[in-house]
């Protein structure tokens, strides 16, 4: 994280602590209390969301009266790679979310063809913080205002030397985002839009910034889902991404998914993700599976 980002991060943390302290004043702490599926699944960066996108909801089953948590694992087998993400998040008083995710991008046989060696793995660690600043996605059905959250994700990629050699500017970076999530109950629809200010290449796995374009740019994540029942929803997502590296172009990512709340604590997501070309290999799309455990 560059020094210039620290004041924003510090301000967010202050908001977190202030918000949490106020939220549970005078009421008993309780476990759980979110309706099925309303804690969402977990996005690949560890924050509450769907497959590729980060949403404005706070991880875990807690309400304003409790503390919740989630753990997740996502696997996207692609034609020439294997993508794995896992991690967890803590939700405090339905106000603040702190998350961690580890992503591994296994090049398997492709690594040899890229000259990296068979089974070479790109990877990164992502630490995130999110604060709900307005609205309630579930209960405020009579208002147009969505649930709005702001967040940061600090990402640290492995192999700094290689990233530089590939044309990337840094091995670490910070994404800032504003997410808005609204459940339109009367229409059985969930809509999310997230504006992300980022310079991450392939989510950060290939570093940050590059020889084609340096510096962060605004990118958009949109998700739409239809509630089939209170335990099943189907949806689709679109995520724009920077295109910073000369050696490998990057384009928008898409996915379509079905989420099933098996119990109040276990959610399964199955879908199809299309990441476009990844490190010179075209058409990287594949069926994926994500499991989330939440309390």
């Amino acid at each position: 994280m560059s020094v210039s980002h620290w004041p924003v991060f510090a301000a967010l943390l202050t908001l977190c602590v202030g918000g949490a302290g106020h939220a549970h004043a005078g009421r008993p702490l309780v476990l759980g209390g979110k309706l099925p599926l309303t804690r969402g699944a977990t996005g690949i960066e560890g924050a509450a969301g769907a497959g590729l996108a980060t949403w404005a909801i706070v991880a875990g089953n807690e309400t304003e009266d409790g503390i919740g948590a989630t753990a997740f694992a996502t696997r996207i087998p692609l034609p020439d790679y294997g993508f794995t993400a896992y991690g967890g998040a803590v939700g405090l008083f339905d106000r603040v979310e702190l998350s961690y995710a580890r992503q591994d991008f296994d090049t398997s046989d492709t690594g040899a063809r890229l000259g990296l060696g068979r089974g070479f793995t790109f990877g990164q660690d992502i630490v995130g913080a999110k604060v709900r600043v307005a609205g309630d996605a579930v209960y405020e059905q009579d208002r147009w205002l969505p649930q709005v959250a702001v967040g940061v994700q600090y990402k640290s990629a492995d192999h700094a030397d290689l990233i530089t050699a590939l044309g990337g500017d840094h091995a670490t970076g910070v994404d800032f985002y504003v997410a808005a999530t609204k459940i339109w109950l009367a229409q059985s629809l969930i809509v999310n839009a997230t504006l992300r200010y980022t310079e991450a290449n392939q989510f950060g796995l290939l570093g940050f910034g590059g020889d084609k374009q340096g510096g962060p740019t605004p990118q958009i994540e949109t998700s739409m889902a239809y509630m089939v029942s209170d335990r099943v929803l189907i949806g689709a997502e679109h995520r724009t991404r920077p295109n910073n590296l000369r050696f490998a172009r990057e384009r928008d990512a898409y996915d379509a998914f079905a989420a099933y709340a098996v119990t109040d604590h276990v959610t399964l997501v199955a879908g199809y993700a299309d990441l476009g070309p990844v490190a010179t290999f075209e058409n990287q799309g594949g069926a994926y599976l994500s499991v989330q455990i939440g309390f």
Binding site: R27, P28, V30, G32, G33, K34, L35, P36, T63, E64, D65, G66, V138, Y139, E140, Q141, D142, R143, W184, L185, A186, Q187, S188, M227, V228, S229, D230
Partner: protein, 167 residues
């Protein structure tokens, strides 16, 4: 047994049967409540105008069954049962049936209190409401109300959390 004893028994029996009738009657009667201004607006939201929704709820009879089923499930629930127990069950069932019927466009008058007044000083938490909603879902499911029609009612009820959950 002397005449006096027979008379005493007759008097006792008459008294017992009268008190039994009284008990029966009071089971259907509501307890007195402090006066308040009655208005449909107390129901907390304007009624839906789409007749398809009430039809999906099987009309007023369906709504009545759903309210009964939701309250039976809630009373049997170890977590929220104790919240409902102290209340006048006859009145609770009647006013909730009126409220749901009114909100679904069934043409009922709502004679209960406002949501804020009815839930004052109860210290309800969002989780309590979520458990009630889960029981309401089950009740609607039992009545055969399609999921998207269930959501039409829940969309009207959800904003009432502001007046129900004490902050």
């Amino acid at each position: 047994m002397g005449l006096r004893n027979i008379l005493a028994l007759a008097v006792w029996l008459a008294a017992a049967s009268a008190s039994a009738q009284e008990t029966k009657a009071s089971a259907l009667q509501e307890e007195p409540i402090a006066p308040y201004e009655q208005a449909d607006a107390n129901a907390g939201a304007p009624p839906l105008t789409d007749p398809e929704v009430l039809k999906a709820f099987n009309g007023r009879e369906g709504v009545d069954r759903i309210v009964d089923s939701m309250l039976d499930l809630s009373l049997a629930d170890p977590q929220i049962g104790p919240i409902f127990e102290p209340f006048d069950q006859v009145r609770l069932r009647r006013t909730l049936k009126e409220q749901f019927c009114y909100l679904l466009g069934g043409g009922c008058a709502y004679t209960g209190r406002t949501m804020q007044a009815a839930h004052a000083d109860m210290g309800l938490q969002t989780r309590d409401l979520a458990i009630l909603i889960t029981h309401l879902r089950t009740a609607m499911e039992r009545e055969g109300v399609p999921f998207r029609m269930q959501n039409r009612l829940l969309a009207v009820l959800a904003p009432m959390r502001r007046d129900i959950v004490q902050r």
